[in-house]
Symmetry: C2
Subunit: 157 residues, 2 copies
């Protein structure tokens, strides 16, 4: 079951974030900031968080928002699956839900920024498998030798 974030989910989400092995401390901090922003500005367009629940426990979430100045471009800021629940197609369910969210809002693009480093191999393969294309690449982005790879999918209605 996928539903909107509620205030009482915060602790579970923070635990999920803190367990993710590939996230740096800065990434963890920003992920938590976005949860707080989403709770603070509920109903606004910027940050929408949806959690996926299995057996009354949250096993993952995604955070999606419309890019300002555009009339139909959505950024998938985070898509996170609990470390112990990976490999069970939960990410695919969340991604499909994010695409459906774009469709429901008459959007066209879903974009996801990721990194070229080895710890993100699985993430990149996940987007390729789900028919995303590389729409931008910038070398030495996050750090020297850590490039930006932006995946995008043109969402058909």
């Amino acid at each position: 079951m996928i539903r909107k974030l509620q205030a009482e989910d915060r602790t579970q989400l923070i635990n999920i974030i803190n367990e993710i092995k590939i996230f740096s401390t800065e990434e963890k901090n920003i992920a938590v900031e976005l949860i707080d922003e989403a709770l603070l500005y509920q109903g606004e367009d910027n940050y929408n968080i949806f959690v996926i629940v299995d057996n009354e426990k949250i096993v993952g979430y995604h955070c999606i928002g419309k890019r300002s100045l555009t009339d139909g471009v959505y950024d998938l800021y985070w898509i996170v699956v609990k470390e112990s629940e990976q490999g069970k197609q939960i990410g695919t369910k969340l991604l499909n839900h994010a695409e459906e969210f774009v469709r429901m809002n008459n959007g066209r693009w879903l974009l996801a920024e990721t990194s070229s480093i080895e710890s993100y191999d699985k993430t990149r393969n996940f987007y390729f498998r789900n028919n995303y294309s590389v729409v931008a690449q910038i070398n030495d982005f996050y750090q020297l030798g850590n490039n930006l790879i932006v995946f995008g999918k043109y969402i058909k209605i």
Copy 2:
């Protein structure tokens, strides 16, 4: 003379923004929002505004900030020259200053997002002339038929 934004500059900047012919209402609103954010969070990294002054009047400004999660990527959010002062190399001075700002902060990249539509022809030519490359292009971005063009320059130390 190029200097940091001060609170008393706000009215002049808003007048400059409102006069710019190619800005949409939404672009104007966001430009003004960033001025208020820059004044509110002075000293922080996100939005730094510098104004260029000629004869005690502000004739343009740029707004630059570090991209979160990166250790050296800067976005040039706005570079604006007063409508009546265009064609006098003020934009080039502001751009050089922005590049110098990146260098001073040990940054590597300066990125500027712009649009494919005709009203931005001059802007795109401005970046090409100043040795920027297209680092990303996404069709149907701002609107259908209005594409994103991201210019970037790798800043040498």
